[in-house]
């Protein structure tokens, strides 16, 4: 029984970690700008494409990975400065539409460069290797992802709670104007937020595409949406919420993918219902349910404005 469930569980945990790394970008940007950054999934995809081209140029891995992360950070920074900063005092709908525009721009750019062909993702030594755990064969990346995710999340939480820039981020997320009165340059703080979110999405993309092998211009859409649901599920604006939500979604999704086999092996059924089809639907059904039952999510704060 365990042998049947374990592969799905392991993949679920890994995918959950990858969603978590994307979801943090959504939740942090929302926390500070109250913006659903629809371009975030595409930044994740672009990080994947960058890796393809940079590795193809023959650069060694220890340069390629930092370079990919650096460029991803730069893309996040530039997007914010060009597409969102000029709309700082515009209605929230305008900036959201701008985000959708950025999303399509990135996709079309990549379409133009790649010609719309699936690019095969480079094999990264060590994390692409196969490994056997409790008799289950999987890739190293499956085991590394949750560990790396947790390490990065802990580092991020420490940054936010213990450093000066972290304090500024919390202040800005609460009150732009008063933060300015403290001498905080809010644009810098917002840039830092986008940079952190993009770098984490970059790390996520390395892990994710190592698992899925190919990148195409629409590759960011589904993981982006899933991560967004994870952020809403966990309570948008909350980092622990996004991480927990991402792991729950990743695990559930993959268990559903294997549900037919699991049920069969458990002797509960002897026909296949094709339940795996519903793994994506599950995530979005979860979104609808959470929005109805607890719109603030698992860890979301209730916003009570004192007048």
């Amino acid at each position: 029984m365990l042998k049947t469930v374990l592969p799905y569980l392991l993949t679920g945990i890994a995918v959950g970690g990858q969603y978590a790394l994307i979801a943090i970008g959504y939740t942090m940007v929302y926390g500070i700008l109250r913006l659903i950054n629809f371009a975030h999934g595409d930044v994740f995809m672009v990080a994947g494409i960058l890796m393809v081209y940079i590795m193809a140029s023959g650069l060694p891995l220890y340069i390629s990975i930092p370079l990919v992360l650096l460029l991803t950070a730069a893309i996040g920074f530039v997007i914010e400065r060009i597409a969102y900063k000029p709309l700082r005092s515009a209605p929230r709908m305008s900036i959201m539409i701008s985000a959708i525009g950025v999303s399509y721009t990135l996709q079309n750019l990549v379409l133009y460069i790649t010609g719309g062909l699936n690019k095969s993702y480079p094999k990264i030594p060590f994390i692409s290797e196969s490994v056997s755990i409790f008799g289950v064969n999987t890739k190293m990346v499956t085991l590394i992802t949750p560990v790396l995710t947790i390490v990065l999340v802990v580092a991020l939480v420490l940054l936010i709670n213990k450093t000066k820039i972290g304090m500024a981020m919390r202040a800005v997320s609460k009150d732009f104007e008063t933060s300015q009165l403290m001498g905080i340059k809010i644009n810098n703080v917002i840039s830092v937020t986008f940079i952190i979110g993009s770098v984490l999405a970059g790390v996520g993309s390395i892990l994710y595409f190592t698992n899925y092998n190919t990148v195409i211009q629409t590759s960011g859409a589904m993981p982006g949406l899933k991560a967004f649901v994870a952020a809403v599920f966990g309570g948008i604006g909350s980092i622990p919420g996004a991480v927990v939500g991402a792991f729950i979604i990743g695990i559930c999704e993959n268990l559903i993918k294997g549900l037919d086999i699991i049920l069969f092996k458990a002797g509960l059924t002897n026909t296949s219902y094709g339940l795996a089809t519903f793994s994506d639907a599950f995530t979005f059904a979860l979104l609808i349910i959470i929005l109805i039952v607890k719109p603030t999510g698992l860890f979301g704060e209730k916003i009570t404005d004192k007048v």
Partner: protein, 239 residues
């Protein structure tokens, strides 16, 4: 030369002139108050001095330097602090963090700690609540924190926007004694109040604002004695 000189300041919101060309001075070491009814433009005046509200025309000079249209962050670094209306403490930060964030631009770590200790000696209640989130404080405590936070910027001029608003009478008394303490420590205070009586008692100089104009000026005592002020703001009959 005055510490702060405001000249012919015009500020508009969406086509409506909130300030119609006001001029006033704040002398170093004084408590200066702007009094007036709701919508007279008092808050707008303070907000335009800090650069939060865009200025249409006119000039603002601080310590001999033109600060008109300077970035808020730069203005703060020149030594102007604003204690905003409604206190606006960072409710998601602890009391200590709220004080630390006031010192955001400062690099002198040792002095920052000294200043925190000094503020805690002024407001022992805050020290007790050091690790509490500021959102859990009472209104009076939040006001103390907002003043402490402003003091952490090491300002030469503190501007206070309705510090007594919504506070119990006893707490209001505390707030005004704090304002006097600020003056004693050499900080200049520009105070906005609806509580005209208390403000004028504390103030060296007062200005009366009405719908975007300054209509009267004088020492605190003169304005208290003025029949117009008494009738309009102190609730006394002009007979």
């Amino acid at each position: 030369m005055s510490m702060l000189e405001v000249r012919d300041l015009i500020v508009s919101y969406g086509g409506i002139e909130a300030l119609k060309g006001i001029s006033f001075d704040v002398e170093e070491g004084n408590i200066v108050t702007l009094i007036g009814a709701n919508g007279a433009g008092k808050s707008t005046t303070l907000r335009s001095i800090t650069g939060i509200v865009p200025i249409q025309s006119g000039s603002i000079t601080f310590m001999g330097e033109d600060i008109t249209r300077m970035d808020t962050q730069k203005i703060v670094s020149k030594g102007i602090a604003l204690v905003p209306e409604g206190r606006r403490v960072f409710s998601n930060l602890t009391v200590l963090e709220n004080l630390r964030i006031g010192a955001y631009l400062r690099k002198d770590k040792a002095d920052i700690q000294k200043d925190i200790d000094y503020i805690y000696s002024l407001f022992p209640r805050l020290k007790e609540r050091n690790w509490q989130l500021a959102g859990t404080l009472s209104g009076g405590e939040q006001q103390m924190l907002a003043v402490g936070r402003a003091m952490m910027t090491r300002p030469k001029l503190i501007m206070m926007d309705e510090p007594s608003l919504g506070l119990a009478p006893l707490v209001v008394k505390d707030i005004f004694s704090i304002i006097k303490t600020l003056k004693e420590t050499g900080i200049t205070v520009l105070l906005i109040e609806q509580n005209a009586n208390a403000a004028l008692h504390a103030a060296d100089i007062g200005y009366v604002m009405e719908t975007g104009n300054i209509t009267l000026t004088g020492t605190g005592a003169e304005l208290l004695a003025s029949e117009d002020v008494q009738a309009a703001y102190l609730g006394k009959s002009s007979k």
